[in-house]
């Protein structure tokens, strides 16, 4: 306890304190200088970098989508426009508990299981921080009201109005115009992300796909000031979007509707072309589907129903359906033969009702062949061979031409290639040749193949669109016009798509063939076996001159694997009915091809359809009467 007893030395204790306090003051000075140096470093050396980063924090670029261009028919009828849709959008970062949110939301909006599943799938799709993703589409007024009333329970969710594609004509134009779809992950990978920023849809089919760039327009943007939670505070500046161009088609909505009425619910296709321009006036494939179903994403149930339907409504018969042309090929074979002087107009043969290749037992029958062998058409020249649709004449002619000339010269009418300018999904059909058969079947070309080709049977396949384009060239007396959907579009590759050899047939070939086709329709009141094949069905009271040709195509095969009722199979085994026509003969305004799947005889079933359509076009539509369907949606 010595320490305790000793006297305190106050002076020295005070001295110690002064020393220590002075040291402390120096340390504080050093530390404060360090702070000043640090802050000074941040505010000078790091200044511009920090300013840039604070700007990047503050300013967000928000894309403004352009409005997709309208699609109009030749008279201004809307085929595709845009309608407002209220979608529910989600910012995943702001959702506290996804399961709770979904549970309550499903109750408030009465969501189906499928909608809930879709919500989950779509909400995982955003890539940017605080980016919102649409998860529910086309909310009803009631749903919007119920959501807004419960909004406090759903942070991170909001209702946003957007414009989406609308097809006012529904199924009628589905195969003609095509449709847009939501951009999916696979699309997104190959798209220009900037051009499609905040655009949700892309043209997937038909004209919508081909003219995607023009219809889309150019994206604009706003530079907005946003806070850390992504909330927009104010717009700083920006660039307005340039809306997509409107697209006017050659299509005639009234004619399309008339074609639809004429088909009367049967499966088939109609393609009508203006021979002067190549513009496609009608492009109908039935059955069809409502393209509006696809715009916001089709439900699995609906999609499966469409996909598995035996009638294949998703299948575009007009441009993708490939059928044997049957007798509708005959006029074109005739043109080739006359052009190459294989025959002349006056050459004739005797048709006993059957044809035989030299040194071959097999009989190739004419369509009116009978067991008693009293069929046949008697003496037949090329004109009669057309209006009576004489098979034997064309068997003989095909054999005389030979497969090489046939496969070479039929190209000029567009067979075997997709010559349409702006329908990307069109099929090319098939024009057989020796080389083709060797390559695909590993078989030589047999003379019998040539015989079959003479009446459009065998391997040859054409689409209704190809047939209509060939008829347009025929109506033009050889001048090829490439079929096209949109007006006022310049095609740099127009020359390329003109088939080889087009327009090189001599002038004298046209009138005999067209004359024969005229008689198909107009030659009547003759003795038995002398009337045009279609006269009794369409030729009695016709007010204009029409050239036509019927055709009947064999059904190649029934698809296996599905169990159908026997009656349905019977129906599906029936032959396809064709009719091709153009009118008026002296100044062709419309060329068309009609195909009825399993429709039966061409003259009996397909010809009246063609007549009804041409009647409408020449007698009603061209008279300036705007059809009802057009009035309803006219802008």
């Amino acid at each position: 306890m010595r320490e305790a007893l000793a006297l305190k030395d106050h002076r020295s204790e005070s001295q110690i304190y002064v020393e220590r306090a002075a040291t402390g003051a120096v340390v504080v000075l050093v530390l404060f200088s360090l702070l000043i140096l640090r802050v000074g470093y941040l505010q000078t050396v790091q200044y511009s970098d920090s300013v840039a980063r604070s700007e990047k924090n503050r300013v967000q670029v928000v894309a403004r989508p352009p409005v997709r261009g309208l699609i109009l028919d030749r008279q201004g009828v809307l085929l595709a426009d845009n309608r407002p849709s209220r979608n529910l959008e989600v910012i995943p970062e702001q959702i506290v508990n996804m399961e709770d949110t979904l549970f309550h939301l499903a109750t408030v909006l009465e969501m189906s299981e499928e909608e809930t599943a879709r919500f989950r799938r779509l909400s995982g799709r955003t890539t940017r921080r605080f980016e919102s993703a649409p998860v529910l589409f086309d909310l009803s007024d009631e749903q919007v009201a119920r959501f807004e009333a419960n909004r406090f329970r759903f942070p991170g969710l909001s209702v946003q109005a957007k414009l989406v594609r609308n097809y006012p004509q529904g199924a009628l134009m589905a195969h003609a115009v095509g449709s847009v779809r939501r951009i999916n992950d696979r699309d997104a990978a190959s798209l220009n992300a900037t051009a499609y920023a905040s655009t949700d849809h892309i043209g997937k089919l038909g004209v919508e796909r081909f003219y995607e760039t023009e219809l889309l327009g150019q994206v604009g943007y706003d530079r907005v000031e946003a806070n850390a939670r992504g909330r927009m505070m104010r717009v700083l500046d920006g660039v307005k979007p340039i809306n997509g161009q409107n697209l006017t088609l050659y299509l005639d909505a009234g004619l399309q509707a008339a074609a639809d009425r004429a088909l009367d619910g049967r499966r088939g296709a109609v393609v009508a072309i203006d021979p002067k321009t190549g513009g496609i006036l009608a492009l109908l494939s039935r059955p069809a589907y409502d393209p509006n179903l696809f715009v916001q994403g089709i439900s699995h149930q609906n999609y499966n129903a469409l996909r598995t339907s035996m009638d294949a409504p998703l299948f575009n018969r007009a441009i993708q359906g490939q059928y044997q042309p049957g007798s509708t090929l005959k006029p074109f074979i005739g043109l080739i033969a006359l052009g190459g002087s294989t025959v002349t107009v006056s050459d004739s043969i005797e048709d006993p009702g059957w044809y035989q290749l030299p040194g071959n037992e097999r009989l190739y029958r004419d369509w009116n062949w009978t067991k008693t062998n009293d069929g046949g058409h008697g003496r037949v020249n090329i004109e009669k061979a057309l209006y009576r649709s004489c098979n034997v004449y064309f068997y003989d002619l095909a054999v005389r031409l030979g497969i090489d000339r046939l496969s070479q010269d039929l190209k000029q009418f567009g067979f075997g290639q997709a010559s349409v300018l702006d329908l990307p999904d069109a099929n090319a059909g098939l024009l057989p040749s020796r080389a083709w058969k060797r390559a695909t079947r590993k078989l030589p070309w047999y003379p019998g193949d040539t015989v079959n080709l003479g009446i459009g049977h065998g391997d040859i396949l054409v689409t209704p669109l190809q047939m209509a384009a060939a008829v347009a060239a025929l109506a033009n007396r050889g001048r090829w016009v490439a079929p096209r959907m949109a007006q006022n579009q310049s095609f740099e590759d127009a020359a390329r798509s003109s088939p080889s050899g087009a327009g090189q047939l001599p002038e004298h070939v046209w009138e005999p063939i067209i004359g024969g086709m005229e008689k198909v329709v107009h030659r009547g009141n003759q003795i038995y076996g002398e009337n045009g094949t279609a006269w009794s069905y369409i030729g009695r009271d016709i007010e204009y001159r029409m050239a036509g040709k019927s055709g009947t195509a064999q059904v190649v095969a029934i698809e296996q694997g599905e169990v159908y009722e026997a009656s349905i199979i019977e129906e599906r085994k029936r032959k396809h009915a064709w009719f091709i026509a153009f009118a008026p003969i002296e100044d062709p305004k419309i060329a068309l091809a009609v195909l009825l799947e399993n429709g039966g005889g061409g003259s009996e079933y397909a010809a009246p359809v063609a007549r009804e359509i041409i009647d409408y076009y020449l007698l009603e539509g061209a008279g300036g009467r705007v059809p009802d369907v057009a009035m309803a949606r006219r802008q």
Binding site: V28, V51, A228
Partner: protein, 380 residues
Amino acid sequence: MSGDFVRRLPGGATSFRNHRGAFTWFNLDPWLMLILLSIVSFGLVVLHSASDGNWVVVEAQLVRLGLGFGLMILIAQIPPYFLLRTAPLLYGLGLILLLLIYPFGTEVNGSRRWLRVPGVLNFQPSELMKLFLPMVLAWYFHERHLPPGLKPVLVSCLLLLVPAGLIIVQPDLGTGLMIATSGFLVLILAGLPWRYMLRVGALVLISAPALWFVIKDYQRGRILTMFDPERDPLGAGWNIIQSKIAIGSGGFSGKGLLNGTQSHLDFLPESSTDFIIAVLAEELGFLGVVSLLALYGLFILRGLMMSLNAQDTFGRLLCGSITFTFSVYVFVNIGMVSGILPVVGVPLPLVSYGGTALLTLFAGFGLMMSIHSHRRITLL
């Protein structure tokens, strides 16, 4: 001349009161008052902007400041000898309250820091310890020869480590460390031999790696994030990245009050509390930061002068440790916001929005005033 002698004259000398006016009458130091008012006013301007021009926040802070000044004036009236006598008692009381947390404390965010007497009181005992620990150490050294020998050093370390440890295990590492620091500062000012400090320093350096495995995950994360904020830019690093951007983008003279985008668009977290210096730096730039540091410097200067004028060891040590602790708060806060120290949740004294810590500060100023005004002789 001797402090002991002065201490035996209760109430101080009446002769000074007559010619020093109102300040002296209330036992206040006019210089310190002036500096405090300057810092507080500056702070209110920054807080007004940091809270997005929200006057409610400013008014609430004004009320707290009013309470703080009131508390300061009240404590300034207490004669130092009374403080000296009661220091061990208060320390004991503080320890008991810290221990009471275990059975009775309220758990908030996983740590027990608060004691609640429903309807009456709601406070953190650690706040009291911020003052009681320096007081008890000053009292302890007051009674002993300085510089202290090994035994007093060990005893004082024990006095220091018990409350600091109790607070750290709450867990509240930041406050625990700050309290330990304030006690340690008393030791240093009392003349703790440098050789002890060197030995302890070496020991700490050696044991630091071991410490790494003792501290909690979030604390480890804070340290890692300090060295490399980009490690976790949207999580732990976010605060420090955004505050550095805020400071840096202020430049020399700043973006102007209420114009700071980092704070007003909520990129800067805790912008009116712990990170308020970043708002100041963004809106008033380098000039603003240096001005505030200058005011703090003046405060420290005045505090040191007051401690040098103190009449006895108790007064010197208490006054000096409060002053230096204050400067440590300033350094740690600005250091953490500018990214040279880990984020430890220390407010910027007198400027950050917040209650309890502010009152503790003013109580400390009250102690300084009491020591300064109840003296006989002025040296500086």
